[in-house]
């Protein structure tokens, strides 16, 4: 019981509390903030604020109408309370819904014109906004071999997109990659056709709120038959205080196309919790494939649960065409509260959905996350692999739905969710919903909960590893299934994150 004993010692009086605090503080490497002049919309949420956001983004009238309708719906909705998360009531009038750096008032025409402070911010985060052979990792990019890989980056800072790299090169392949605000202006026909078609305006409380106030995010369109020539990524950074980030991402993979999209996010350490309510919609047509990977590393709050991001996110992919394929991979280490269920609507026959997740909660973090696999088409397949790791006083819940509709003949699902508890003050929960409405469908669900394997730990330590390294290795083995699904550079990234996140509990 070495791991547990260590935790108990740490939480007891014996250990130097100051050291522990410092250690946990050290663990979050992105807690610094950028000192930059900002302009804000007035605090609170009203139709005036929505008009202002729409105006700042120079949106057409139909977009404003769409937002206002969403706002009217939102007013009639109540916050969901079924998740196993507990947080103080959010005062939606006591925060800013729009914040942008003053220097972004006139959108820079090229990356060269972007405020150096902003460029430095992304440089520091490991996301240089330069068009060169770079590596996609959200951090530590310089440490990995950058051999001939290009990754296009859309960088979102608070409420605005700062810049998007490789746009011209992508355009040659017919790929549109830009901020959503730009897409609304430049490609209204695509946005109007697809926006809200996967996550309807009134889908849920937070999605409806997002529909009303979203300020920026990314837009991707991959034309028929095109394999996107490089990986696309968006990096979200919250910097301003008391400001919510409401990003909207829309990805359309037309017939026979392929894209791998990466998403990363961080925020400064602040005492007051901040809201992040995003919506991601993905449309996948016949024979197209989308890989969507996330390393979610929002500020988790301090060890007493002070501050941190409330991450209430709606992500959904619609496999509209036959043989469409979506793969969600997420590594969740940040956020004070996570409420997130990236889902797959398997509408096309033989379409496939996959969900690989590692959720690590530490200290006072709470995560309620999982997926929905809605099988509508025949011969659809889905696979869910979820690994939850809980340490400190954290609560980690897997919540998922597998639904086999009547017409989903010969559909298959396999679900495996495992939870690992480190220490005896934390919790791990599994809440799967399984609905099978046709007998040719086959559904299998397995779940286990266990503690870190003593024998494995002992073995590692007998080979000279210290406690912390040993636990990191055992946990990585436990998470291997998920990490292998990540694009290579993210896998390396994630393995570092696993070690970092466990530092607080075992070290």
């Amino acid at each position: 019981m070495a791991a547990v004993d260590q935790t108990q010692v740490k939480e007891g009086v014996d250990q130097d509390t100051v050291d522990a605090v410092r250690e946990v503080g050290d663990a979050y490497k992105y807690g610094w903030s950028t000192d930059i002049e900002m302009e804000y919309a007035p605090k609170g949420l009203t139709t005036d604020i929505i008009r202002l956001i729409s105006e700042k983004n120079q949106e057409p009238e139909w977009m404003l109408e769409w937002r206002l309708e969403a706002y009217a719906r939102w007013l009639t909705k109540t916050e969901p309370d079924w998740a196993m998360v507990d947080y103080p009531e959010i005062d939606f009038q006591d925060q800013y819904y729009y914040a942008r750096p003053k220097s972004m008032e006139v959108k820079p025409k090229s990356l060269d014109e972007v405020d150096p402070k902003l460029l430095a911010t992304y440089e520091k985060l490991g996301i240089p906004l330069r068009e060169q052979m770079i590596l996609a990792g959200v951090e530590g990019a310089e440490a990995a071999p950058a051999e001939g890989r290009k990754v296009a980056v859309d960088a979102v800072f608070d409420s605005v997109s700062v810049g998007t790299t490789f746009q011209a090169e992508l355009a040659k392949a017919g790929v549109i990659f830009c901020s959503i605000s730009e897409a609304i202006r430049e490609h209204p026909e695509l946005v109007r056709k697809y926006l809200g078609s996967v996550v309807p305006v009134s889908d849920n409380f937070y999605a409806t709120l997002n529909s009303a106030v979203f300020s920026d995010g990314s837009f991707v369109y991959i034309p028929p038959g095109v394999r996107c020539p490089m990986e696309l990524s968006t990096y979200f950074r919250i910097n301003a205080e008391n400001t919510g980030q409401f990003e909207r991402t829309l990805i359309i993979a037309d017939k026979g196309s392929y894209v791998s999209y990466l998403e990363g996010c961080t925020a400064p350490a602040r005492d007051i919790a901040q809201l992040h309510a995003a919506v991601v919609e993905i449309i996948i047509e016949e024979d197209a494939e989308v890989k969507y990977s996330t390393v979610q590393n929002w500020y988790p709050g301090d060890e007493d649960g002070k501050g941190g991001i409330y991450n209430f996110v709606t992500k959904r992919a619609d496999c509209r065409g036959d043989r469409a394929k979506i793969m969600w991979t997420q590594v969740e280490t940040g956020s004070a509260v996570t409420w997130k269920y990236p889902s797959c609507i398997l509408r096309g026959n033989q379409s496939q959905g996959e969900f690989y997740s590692i959720a690590i909660t530490n200290n006072m973090q709470q995560a309620d996350t999982g997926t929905k696999m809605i099988h509508l088409g025949a011969n659809t397949k889905s696979r869910i692999v979820s690994k939850g790791i809980s340490a400190g006083k954290a609560q980690n819940t897997y919540r998922g739905l597998v639904s086999m509709h009547k017409k989903a003949k010969n559909a298959r699902n396999y679900t495996q969710c495992d939870s690992l508890l480190i220490g005896d003050k934390c919790g791990a929960h599994t809440v799967p919903y399984i609905e099978v409405k046709n007998n040719s469908a086959r559904v299998e669900h397995e779940a286990t909960t266990s503690k870190v394997d003593e024998d494995q730990l002992f073995y590692c330590r007998s080979r000279g590893m210290n406690e912390e390294e040993a636990v990191a290795l055992v946990v990585n083995g436990f998470c291997k299934d998920v990490l292998q699904a990540l694009p290579m550079e993210f896998a390396m990234e994630a393995q570092q994150l696993v070690a970092i996140s466990l530092e607080g509990s075992v070290g």
Binding site: G427, H429, T430, P432, V436, N438, S440, T448, T449, S450
Partner: protein
């Protein structure tokens, strides 16, 4: 908190048809239960805990009509030496019942002891039910505690030589029976309790079970084959140190059955197994809702549920293992499986884990699918006709749950009954 209106009015409507029994030792418990019920209200269609099962017909102030099924199988467990207690549509049948005398156990009827001011059952009646209302509300159980018309109270003091059997006969199309049983198993004592029959057009049954340290209770229920009956049953069990509780429920047909099982492992090294097999045909809805709380060291719990569904039948399984902080060395296991014999039937499941202790092993599995085509092909290639091969595979599927019963004679009785039902199709 004030109840939403539909809930309140449904509850009030249901209560107008009922009269709260007064007097005797149970009066305070009944009054408390009524207050509990009024505070929580009867379930509505949108309640999360009733997501998969519509409570509507259980709420009506009059029980929906249910034709009496003429059963030519003979009574289940009939051949078994036992003390049999018979209720017809919820009313005790003295002529059909055995004398309630057996060494090692005191059996009394609730109605017989109702007027007494003091009775040992007072400590238990409504107590476990009340505790079982958190964290999830079970309003029909509170209704039962308040309004039960009869039932049995069983005090197990030794190891009786034969089982006690409760036989529930359904004989009226409009009967609405509410029976409440209380079982107390003393330290080191052991009993096998059998239950069989469809009971009534609508049946609400609660059994509260308190097993002291080292005690053992085997509880085997067989409900069926009555097509139109409706039933909502609850068993609440509290287990002391090194005690054992093994429950098995067989359900065959019935338009609506909701069986809730709420178990608290309160003493160290306790052992709880609950299993169920059900065969549903046509307009059949069967719901097993299980909530097991581990609140002590080194306990084991095991849930094994198998459902065979055909012709549009619906099976539901909501199972939960809650491991409280400090309940280290828990071993929790849960499996729910459904065999869908055609494209119209459905299985809805929510196998849940909630764990607050790190040194535990909890696993749950749930599978749904059709008959294994390869196994079927194999049997047919060996000359077994398709229907017989299907029955054989169906039986093999169900037997895994029946095998959870320790008593081989009882298990065999159930298997042979299943065999004849499957063959009769």
């Amino acid at each position: 908190m004030a109840l939403a209106n539909p809930k309140q009015s449904a509850t009030e409507a249901r209560l107008t048809a009922l009269t709260l029994p007064s007097g005797g030792w149970s009066e305070p418990a009944r009054q408390d239960a009524l207050l509990r019920l009024q505070a929580m209200g009867l379930p509505q269609r949108r309640d999360e805990y009733w997501k998969f099962t519509r409570p509507d017909t259980l709420l009506d102030s009059q029980a929906p009509t249910a034709a009496v099924f003429v059963n030519d199988d003979g009574r289940m467990f009939e051949a078994y030496d036992q003390i049999n207690i018979v209720f017809v549509d919820g009313v005790f049948d003295a002529d059909a019942s055995d004398e309630l005398v057996l060494e090692g156990v005191h059996v009394e009827r609730l109605a017989d002891i109702a007027d007494k001011d003091i009775h040992w059952a007072k400590d238990l009646y409504g107590t476990l039910e009340s505790k079982g209302q958190t964290p999830v509300e079970r309003p029909f159980a509170a209704l039962n505690t308040a309004f039960a018309s009869d039932g049995v109270v069983i005090h197990v003091t030794g190891k009786p030589s034969k089982p006690v059997c409760l036989t529930y006969i359904h004989n009226s199309e409009v009967s609405d029976a509410i029976l409440h049983n209380v079982v107390r198993v003393d330290e080191g004592a052991e009993l096998t309790l059998l239950e069989n029959g469809p009971a009534a057009a609508r049946f609400n049954n609660v059994t509260e079970i308190d097993i002291a340290d080292g005690g053992t209770l085997h509880f085997i229920r067989a409900h069926g084959r009555d097509h139109e009956r409706r039933a909502v049953t609850h068993m609440f069990a509290r287990l002391g140190e090194k005690s054992t509780f093994k429950a098995f429920t067989l359900t065959v047909n019935g338009v609506l059955t909701r069986n809730e099982c709420v178990i608290e492992l309160a003493g160290n090294d306790a052992f709880a197994h609950v299993a169920g097999a059900c065969v549903g045909d046509g307009d059949f809805h069967h719901d097993d809702t299980v909530f097991i709380t581990h609140d002590a060291l080194n306990c084991e719990s095991r849930q094994v549920f198998k459902k065979v569904l055909r012709n549009g039948a619906t099976g539901v399984f909501q199972g939960k293992i809650l491991v409280k902080a400090g309940a280290q060395k828990t071993d929790g296991y849960q499996i729910s499986q459904a065999l869908l014999l055609d494209g119209d039937s459905q299985f809805l499941a929510k196998p849940e884990l909630e764990i607050y202790a790190d040194d535990v092993i909890c696993s749950h599995g749930s599978t749904t699918g059709a008959i294994d085509e390869e196994a079927l092909y194999y049997l047919r290639s060996r000359g077994v006709p398709k229907s017989a091969a299907t029955d054989l595979l169906t039986l093999a599927f169900l037997i895994e749950a029946v095998e959870e019963i320790d008593d081989k004679v009882i298990a065999d009785t159930i298997v042979s009954r299943l065999e004849s039902w499957l063959a009769r199709r």
